[in-house]
Amino acid sequence: MTTATRSLVATDGNPYALSHLDALEAESVHIFREVAGEFERPVILFSGGKDSIVMLHLALKAFAPAAIPFSLLHVDTGHNFPEVIEYRDRTAAQHNLRLHVASVQDFIDRGLLRERPDGTRNPLQTVPLLDAIESNKFDAVFGGGRRDEEKARAKERVFSLRDEFGAWDPRRQRPELWSLYNGRHAPGEHVRVFPLSNWTELDVWQYIEREDIELPEIYYAHERDVFKRDGMWLTAGEWGGPKEHETVEKRLIRYRTVGDMSCTGAVDSDAATIADVIAEIAASRLTERGATRADDKMSEAAMEDRKREGYF
């Protein structure tokens, strides 16, 4: 570790200037510590995706040499990539963290949720998520959402109050000034906290490179059986693809985001290292979500509508 030396890389000729990554890191760590200081039962939403992995890395740094004073929560759609689930379990064990799993499959089996005709399970996550928050009495839930992802997210506060139904009302958000975060909430309400609000996809990758953070292999180029649906390469699997007229082929691909297999698309790529990936996304003419998320394409306000219902 050479954190101190790295921070001394002068920008603008000012020896005390911080690089943008150092400034973002300092801000995110501040947010983690505010939550630890003000809430009773915070939890980190951990999917094994790159944003939540960076979030966990920042939390580890924020409380070192002590352990993170939070547990982890994963909403498992039942259609996750096996490599990601393996990474999730290994990471929780490595840091001695308690992992809560809220299972969409379980809710379907119990008749509390119904499979959608299109087989997409992403929108089904909201119910198990809110159930886990309620039954565990979590009062602060960290999410890896970034404001650059989507225009409804650009309006989201760092501390986002949710009512007893988990709902987000963009018109009733608390103004957020300076670095003074207001976490007051009534019993039954909770606060979603977004420590990566001000990070972009490129920042996340540059930070992964700088900190040498391990990611699930699906983020790097590999050969995989995929088929095309709605202009995206989807992984063939038991979740319901391909259909009769869809043909499977082996392609060299990687994933830019990690989510439910039924709606997370792969991109053609030969980027095998972090540096390759950074070069690739710096040159890409598509946003992360535009390239890989089917569920955001459903309507112009798809994300906003899901967030109002309690989605992250």
Partner: protein, 439 residues
């Protein structure tokens, strides 16, 4: 590995835009994002698609920024949004503040974290009431750099005298508010003149384009000349086999520099000690500066918890009597006698609104006394009494340790933004009772 880090070690500028409804702010923001190649193909495609559906021929760049359903339906911007873009030299976080009805509250929100404010003026109208209001808010929030963007130069034949007169009037007004750094740029957001690319129509202008200025303006203050302020967020005590006695105070330096060996005072208790060690997110270091997040260890075993302030250099005197300039943010008025919570750095205490000394007319900057309450968007001066002493600096000296929030204890609503001390360096006084019905 080191080469990648050095090329990526760009700095970060947080800035805010202010402009009234028809000044072309959305177009300017859209132009900055578009011309700096921060708008990607799928976003542009979505905007083109939405524009076509609305019957518009050209893509409406304002749709890039209006993110909420209600905003698109009504064609207005409701709330502050944050935008991100980057050039090879710098990363930018833009607080895009709406110019609509609730502008004071929204601009205060956007300006609170900004190091630079862009005030947009329509070249045909020059400095108007709104412009003065925007300058006043930037001055009030102590935004270090102000840029006057004189927009729609294409509609005044790109005439230098028009620009010069507006720039002169604005600079004089801003100087009277105590704003030291004003840069004026003549632009056309619609045609793209001097936003990202230099204009071919204004040979007489020798200054930077707007983006060039944003890329080169110095960011961050000089921590070496500020007293150190370290609000304690959280006490780290692992109590493990490897670290049985570790006791560190976690926080983010609000200002200044801390070195191992420095003498520090802990407030409000007033105990003094010495910095025994600094841990920068897991790695030991001998120096830290604002705004780094670190963990500080002290030589003496004294009682310190969340909410305390570790200070070096001249330290503020803790007090229960606070005078401050405030901007009221909520529809519920702030009244004399109100019992509220006050959040200052990492400490939240009970507080009483003892007095509302005056309200500031943000257009004329006159102080109007006789106020019983502050309405939403009002800026005024108040006297507060707190249940426990607080170590506040003047907001003039320190934006982080001089700021606070007032919170409704009943439902947690954020009511008011506060800045310790007087609002402006120079203000005129008008003690005549307020004629408006605004209580």
């Amino acid at each position: 590995m080191s080469t990648t880090i050095e090329t990526s070690a760009t700095s970060l500028l947080r800035f805010a835009t202010a402009g009234s409804v028809d000044d072309g702010k959305s177009t300017l923001v859209g132009r900055l994002l578009h011309d700096s190649k921060s708008v990607l193909a799928d976003q542009l495609e979505a905007v083109e698609h939405a524009s076509r559906r609305r019957g518009q021929e050209a893509p409406d760049l304002a749709l890039l920024t209006d993110g909420l359903r209600a905003e698109r339906e009504q064609g207005i911007t409701i709330d502050v949004a944050y935008r991100y873009f980057a050039t090879a030299r710098r990363r930018f976080i833009l607080a895009d503040t709406p110019g609509h009805v609730q502008y004071t509250r929204n601009m205060v929100t956007g300006a609170s974290t900004a190091e630079l404010a862009v005030v947009l003026v329509d070249a045909r109208n020059g400095v108007v009431e709104q412009t003065r209001r925007h300058a006043a808010v930037a001055a009030l929030l102590r935004v270090p750099h102000v840029v006057l963007a004189v927009n729609k130069m294409d509609l005044v034949e790109y005439a230098e005298p028009v620009f010069a007169a507006i720039a002169e009037e604005f600079t004089a007004y801003a100087a009277s508010l105590g704003v030291k750094d004003v840069v004026a740029v003549p632009i056309s957001a619609l045609a793209g003149d001097n936003v990202v690319e230099p204009s071919a129509h204004m040979d007489w202008y020798g200054g930077p384009t707007l983006l060039e200025h944003l890329e080169t303006v110095p960011v961050g203050s000089d921590p070496s000349i500020e007293p150190a302020r370290f609000p304690v967020q959280y006490v780290i005590r692992p109590q493990t086999e490897e670290n049985p006695d570790y006791r560190g105070y976690a926080g983010q330096l609000a200002s200044g520099v801390l070195r191992v060996g420095d003498t520090v005072t802990v407030l409000p208790s007033g105990h003094t000690s010495t910095v025994a060690g600094i841990d920068a997110l897991g790695a030991e270091t001998d120096i830290a500066w604002a705004p780094q997040s670190v963990t500080v260890r002290l030589a003496d075993d004294i009682d310190i918890s969340r909410g305390d302030l570790i200070a070096a250099g001249p330290a503020p005197v803790p007090t229960k009597d606070i005078e401050a300039t405030v901007c009221h943010l909520n529809e519920r008025p702030l009244t004399v006698g109100a019992k509220v919570l006050l959040k200052h750095t990492t400490r939240t205490v009970r507080a009483l609104v003892k007095e509302i000394s005056y309200r500031i007319d943000i257009d004329s900057l006159e102080q109007r006394s006789g106020a019983e309450g502050l309405k939403v968007n009002d800026i005024g001066h108040v006297v507060l009494r707190t249940a426990e002493p607080l170590a506040l600096d003047d907001y003039t000296d320190n934006r982080r340790t001089g700021s606070f929030l007032l919170i409704d204890p009943a439902d947690g609503t954020t009511l008011t933004a506060g800045m310790a001390g007087e609002a402006f360096d120079t203000v005129s006084t008008n003690d005549a009772p307020d004629e408006e019905d605004w209580v």
